[in-house]
């Protein structure tokens, strides 16, 4: 089973054309294995990216170096997946 330990979902809300362009460019960085939950749309529209643990530091450094603000939407994806699984098991037992 695929493990998402340490994966985070980052939220970026581009507020300028330059930021939007920087976020669009992230889609080309295949080596980071980013999973765009919400792809770039336009200014003010959130972009949500699931970031594998090994890519977290490089990506955050890249964003900070380019002055692109971000927030952490999900701290640990696996924690939510585990919670979801536990709830399903509990319901089934009940």
């Amino acid at each position: 089973t695929e493990n998402f330990v340490g994966h985070q979902v980052l939220r970026i809300v581009p507020s300028s054309d330059a930021e939007l362009q920087k976020v669009r460019e992230l889609q080309e960085l295949e080596h980071l294995q980013l999973d765009f939950w919400l792809s770039p749309r336009g200014l003010g529209d959130p972009v949500d990216i699931r970031v594998p643990f090994p890519s977290l530091q490089p990506l955050k450094a890249h964003l900070e170096a380019n002055g692109v603000p971000y927030s952490i939407m999900i701290e640990d994806v696996q924690a939510l997946v585990d919670l979801e699984q536990m709830q399903m098991l509990r319901r089934r037992r009940f």
Binding site: T1, E2, F4, V9, R11, E30, D35, F36, W37, L38, S39, P40, R41, P46, D48, R50, M73, I74, V77, L80, V81, L83, E84, Q87, M88, R91
Partner: protein, 310 residues
């Protein structure tokens, strides 16, 4: 599994087997109203089922609703289960759905991508695509919402099999897509087609592959506006609406672009609620509120369709 659809747990996520068992229960409880159609098989040879709600008649005008074409969007399949029960529950209501079903049939495909859905339960919760394999490619699966014959291969879809938006080798390459194409064509009298995704709180109409506005834009925009107002009236959930390409981005090979081009005027796609906190991992406690508010919008679209048969 429960012994009836009344004791089924609508507040929890379920596996494919559980959802298919629910469908069988619903059919067994209401054989005069509900039937289960097998419209095809997946790459991994799972049956693809559609529930048909009908008061009888032959080839009546129909409304199509599908959920779960992107397998990781679990709240959509869960909402589909709730919709199925809701259609039955509202049948005795003197207004609304009862009136619609007097004239029209409803088709509901709860798990549009069964292989992907099973994969999300067993191997990778974040799987989005189908499970088809392609010679010469290491990566598996096609984005079934880029695989339709509407601007296929254009911008807004990837030719890279490892991309989440891989369009596939050719239009309708995915049996999950081909099954719906065959069904829609053979039925020939579907008047509304609603494809449900999550998440970003949008109600969209064609086109996605071109900036050319659809001829029915004004009407579709007005219907979307009314549907969103109805949806928001329940819990205040804020939706945007508009054409795909103007509201989100260019996307070729999309479902409702194809259905619209087939002559199904009332073609819409939803992106269900997003709390801004969970994305595809929406807690199960939000299934029923999500389904309830979405149903409000669906009622508007269905009622408008019934009132404007063409």
């Amino acid at each position: 599994m429960p012994f009836s659809t009344s004791t089924f747990d609508y507040t929890s996520y379920h596996t494919l087997d559980e959802i298919y068992a629910f469908m069988d229960l619903l059919v067994a409880e209401n054989p005069n109203l509900v039937s289960k159609l097998e419209i095809g098989h997946t790459t991994e040879n799972r049956p693809i089922y559609v529930l048909k709600f009908s008061k009888g008649g032959t080839n009546r005008p129909a409304i199509w609703i599908d959920t779960g074409i992107h397998s990781r969007e679990w709240v959509t399949q869960a909402s589909g289960v709730w919709f199925a029960k809701k259609v039955w529950a509202d049948l005795t209501s003197p207004k609304g759905l009862a009136n619609i079903l007097d004239q029209m049939d409803i088709f509901l495909e709860i798990v549009t991508n069964p292989d992907g859905f099973v994969f999300t339960h067993t191997s990778n919760r974040m799987w989005r695509k189908t499970r088809s394999k392609h010679s010469g490619a290491l990566c598996v699966g096609v984005d079934p919402n880029r695989n339709w014959d509407a601007g296929f291969g254009g911008s807004g879809a990837s030719s890279n099999p490892c991309s989440e938006t891989y369009r596939g080798p050719y239009a309708n390459s995915e049996p999950e897509v081909q099954a719906i194409v065959d069904f829609v064509k053979s039925h020939g009298n579907i008047k509304a087609f609603i494809s449900i995704h999550s998440y970003s709180q949008l109600l969209l109409y064609p086109y996605g592959y071109t900036t050319t506005a659809v001829p029915d834009k004004e009407e579709l925009h007005q219907v979307a506006k009314e549907a969103v107002a109805a949806l928001s009236s329940l819990y205040g959930t804020n939706y945007k609406y508009g054409s795909i390409i103007t509201t989100i981005y260019q996307a070729s090979g999309g479902t409702i672009d194809w259905t619209y081009n087939q002559g199904i005027k009332y073609s819409f796609t939803f992106e269900l609620r997003d709390t801004g906190r969970y994305g595809f991992l929406l807690p199960a406690s939000q299934i029923v509120p999500t389904a309830q508010e979405t149903w409000k919008a669906l009622e508007v679209i269905m009622a408008h369709t019934r009132g404007h048969l063409y």
